[in-house]
Symmetry: C2
Subunit: 559 residues, 2 copies
């Protein structure tokens, strides 16, 4: 596209900013009777209407401003499960002009400490059940002055620390239920979330009021999740994980009821809440669904209300999709990342595929790009690749809810590392894949794991999946290793099943059979290992293997 | 809300403008195989994919720029039916940075002339079938230099005029199918449409790229029309009428197929195209549907594909809604105006009403406000009224796709008449009604027709409907007349059926019976007239009655 015109004429439309405040006010006013139901583990779940939650959000804003002195662009952190109080914080903090900073309670302590210090959080709202975690971190968090505690938990854990401790309910009590919200610039920061990359320090993504508003509209489009006030969404994906995929905002925009699991994320209570509260929609990562499936096989329950299940975070195994289909729960794949708010694609099969053999293939892709997300594929030499469903390149995306930088820290310039953002401002996702002519994305590898061989890319994941389909192979990881002639070539590291006898030549022949792997992609270098090294979240830790190879610690056979 | 903060921090999101260009590119790329089907009256309809239409839009932009010299913010007018070429103009003109100006071919000649001259249109794209109309206007249109003709029609009608005549297809032929679109400011003008008010000159509403983009997202939200690429929308509402309610844009955003009737708007061809093309959705004003219903009763056809019918423009009579329900075509009421892009409300019943007696009552309201439209009611003394479903006031609205001014003319400041825009920038709709606590709008009158009596409002429409329910009354119009004590009081003007004998006292008693009308609202002044004066579009022309009363031309009895 060529540069903007200077003779542009403005329209006669009103100039109304797109803000979280407006979503709040709309939800409170037009959908005031929609419900947030929070699971309590025993007895009746806790129920609060959108109107009540909005009034409490107004009270919370008064408390934060008047009692705790929160002003300006200050970050207010939450260390909370999914519950009504967390939704109140979601609205109060951005609407008053401050920045909601959700803390991922699953991160290692050193990363959490880094994040709180980098964001310079002065206030933390915490669930009582998470006080053991917060108390262990507090000695390393010099910026934190106030801790606001909500829900059951041992307050004495904070004794002896230097912070001021407040009770959430006591802060709200008696505060006015209306608030004169400031008129905000829609490009102003509303919320932030740090990425939990496996290398380097976590990076802060700062969402704007505009990006949240637009993302919420997108989530509610019929072509996307397409929920209405007739739906109840079981929000399993944590509110500390990319704004729970935008659901706490999308729900207020359309009056969608929320079912919040709080800390009860085990398969049994999840199955129970589905049976008793009858949500129509649920959103979570595959691990949760694997667990639920086992639970339902062990103890069947009526989960028939659940007709749409959004799965993201990592690829949904075909077997899981089939198993859910058989239970009447239709899985819809989605792809995104912290940097994409997160909705980047969603796998609704195109009209022509519905009811045909193609349908499942479409559903197993990462999904289709919505109107707000532009995409392009960049090949090994930086060239643009066609959307032909075959050319694999690194996915780059652009759009009003896509990050163009990372938070630099208070007063510092934003960070734009060249490996994450292109010169013309697109996000480099670090994911490698193909795009079909009708805009469906299929991811095949991470860019850091792909093997760059003679100007072409070899997918490490494809090789691993092919290897692991051999009956003798328990696990296999493939990493790139330097090669004088080709730049890089694949090294196959294989864990054999107990008593298995297959040798490397047999496995190599197996890969080449039935069109599994193209001949030029077959590994020459092979090694047997005891187990594949894993990261804290259970993913293959390939940098360990690459280091072991570089250090000569692996016993490599070349075929 | 209080004023914007100065210490606001910007987010790290990309700054990507919301433009018509991006909707075009998305539709062409991701939904390239979706179809625009244009009815041709005989034989096969004409079919064109989104990809083909987009390529032709690119060619049209080249032609307009290179051959006709269209630059900058220039208005390019269309005088066209709903068809694929009109969609191409919808995208080419705004995307190149110019302003699409749709001309309402149903307006009286003097209004059309005023509009073209006020907008200073230099280029008109016209359907051949509309050349008789254009030729009759051209002598009064000094700014028009170029006429581009598409489709069958007698070109010789333009002989002897001073304009240069171009064939649409010849202009496009051989032009590149790609275009280096300018990067536009989202607040730049994209399209304009003049209101056809019954008083004063027509007023131009100028839509921005941003307003069109946001309105399209809203149309596609599940809570709104909620269409996907599995749908085909029969777009009967004209493209010259508030951008065909946003459908030509919403369709490209989600890959929704379009069925375009071109000039075949009579009940028989509409019924035929529904039966043969099987659209799932249709949008039109009540008059069209009344005609279709009669046609279907005369000659039944299979219209079972049509599960959603959006009705707007004026209120849908309950009998029409019931009749359509019985045919399996579910009517969804919507309200809007040229100044609201137009989607202001849509009547999807709330979850709790579905399947109950309340459902129809909700469906007969004008509908519920979506997140992008803020609403308030202003009473007779300028006070804000509650959303209690009872307090009637003038509806004022605010939002990113609502007009805040009218086009002033080339180089002139926008117009902000005080009777149309409040001091704080809200649009005064001129409609009077109530809003329920859950955000459903019920319109009861036009502000100019309501009777302001002693600080309270009396609905002229309620009185008319009550009067017309008496068996002796053929028609009745009620207007406000000056009153020394009350400010204004209602004057009932009644047309009796042939041979009817009811006198005024009987009619007054009838109004008071069964709670039809509150006692203080009953008219004292009565007159018999031969027929109610009508406007060119068949609405009651009450200003004629008010003038006749003021001039003493009516024989008024006071009870």
């Amino acid at each position: 596209m060529s540069p903007p015109r200077e003779d542009a004429v403005l329209s006669t439309m009103q100039d109304v900013p797109l803000t979280v405040t407006r979503i709040l006010m709309h939800g409170a006013l037009v959908h005031g009777s929609s419900q947030i139901t929070t699971w309590t583990g025993e007895g009746e779940p806790h129920r609060r209407s959108f109107r009540e939650a909005a009034e409490r959000a107004n009270q919370l804003a008064h408390a934060l401003r008047d009692d705790l002195g929160v002003t300006g662009d200050e970050r207010v952190a939450t260390l909370m499960w999914n519950n009504a109080e967390h939704v109140e914080a979601y609205y109060a903090i951005p609407s008053m002009g401050a920045v909601l900073h959700t803390l991922n309670l699953r991160l290692p302590a050193e990363q959490l400490t880094f994040i709180v210090n980098h964001a310079a959080d002065r206030v933390v709202v915490v669930n009582g059940s998470l006080l053991p975690l917060l108390a262990s971190l507090l000695p390393h968090l010099p910026t934190v002055e106030h801790v606001v505690v909500s829900g059951p938990g041992d307050r004495s854990l904070l004794d002896g620390t230097s912070v001021r401790v407040h009770e959430y309910e006591e802060l709200l009590a008696g505060k006015p239920t209306t608030y004169d919200w400031p008129e905000l610039d829609e490009r102003q920061a509303a919320a932030m979330c740090y990425t939990s990359g496996t290398t380097g320090d976590p990076k802060g993504v700062v969402y704007s009021h505009r990006s949240i508003y637009l993302h919420s509209m997108q989530v509610n489009m019929a072509q996307s999740m397409g929920l209405t006030d007739r739906d109840t969404s079981l929000v399993v994906v944590p509110q500390f994980h990319v704004n729970a995929w935008g659901l706490p905002h999308a729900t207020f925009m359309s009056g969608i009821n929320m079912l919040m699991p709080d800390r009860f994320l085990q398969p049994a209570p999840i199955a129970e809440m589905i049976e008793s509260e009858r949500p129509t929609h649920a959103a979570a990562v595959p691990t949760i669904w694997q667990g639920l499936l086992a639970e339902l096989h062990a103890k069947p329950r009526d989960v028939s209300s659940l007709t749409q299940v959004t799965i993201g975070g990592s690829a949904c195994p075909p077997s899981l999709m089939t198993a859910f289909d058989e239970l009447g729960m239709r899985v819809c794949h989605a792809w995104g990342m912290t940097e994409t708010s997160p909705l980047g694609t969603i796998a609704r099969p195109p009209a022509h595929a519905v009811g045909t053999d193609e349908e499942v293939a479409y559903r197993l892709t990462q999904g289709r790009f919505p109107a707000g997300v532009e995409a392009r594929l960049t090949g090994p030499s930086g060239e643009r690749l066609p959307w032909d469903g075959e050319s694999a390149g690194e996915l780059e995306v652009r759009g009003p809810w896509i990050a163009g930088a990372y938070y630099g820290g208070q007063g510092a310039e934003p960070l734009r590392p060249a490996d994450k953002f292109s010169e013309d401002g697109w996000l480099k996702t670090g994911d490698v894949g193909t795009i079909s002519p009708d805009g469906f994305l299929t991811l095949t590898d991470r860019a850091k794991d792909v093997i760059k061989s003679g100007g072409e890319w070899i997918s490490s994941v494809d090789l691993e999946n092919a290897l692991m389909s051999h009956p003798d192979v328990a696990e296999a990881a493939v990493v790139a290793v330097p090669d004088d002639k080709w730049g890089e070539r694949p090294l196959a590291t294989v864990v054999l099943k107990q008593g298995a006898t297959a040798d490397f030549a047999t496995l190599r022949t197996f890969l080449a059979e039935e069109g599994r792997i193209a001949k030029w992609q077959l590994p020459e270098r092979w090694t047997i290992i005891e187990s594949v090294p894993k990261t804290s979240v259970g993913k293959f830790d390939k940098k360990v293997l690459r280091r072991q190879y570089a250090e000569g610690a692996l016993d490599v056979t070349t075929l």
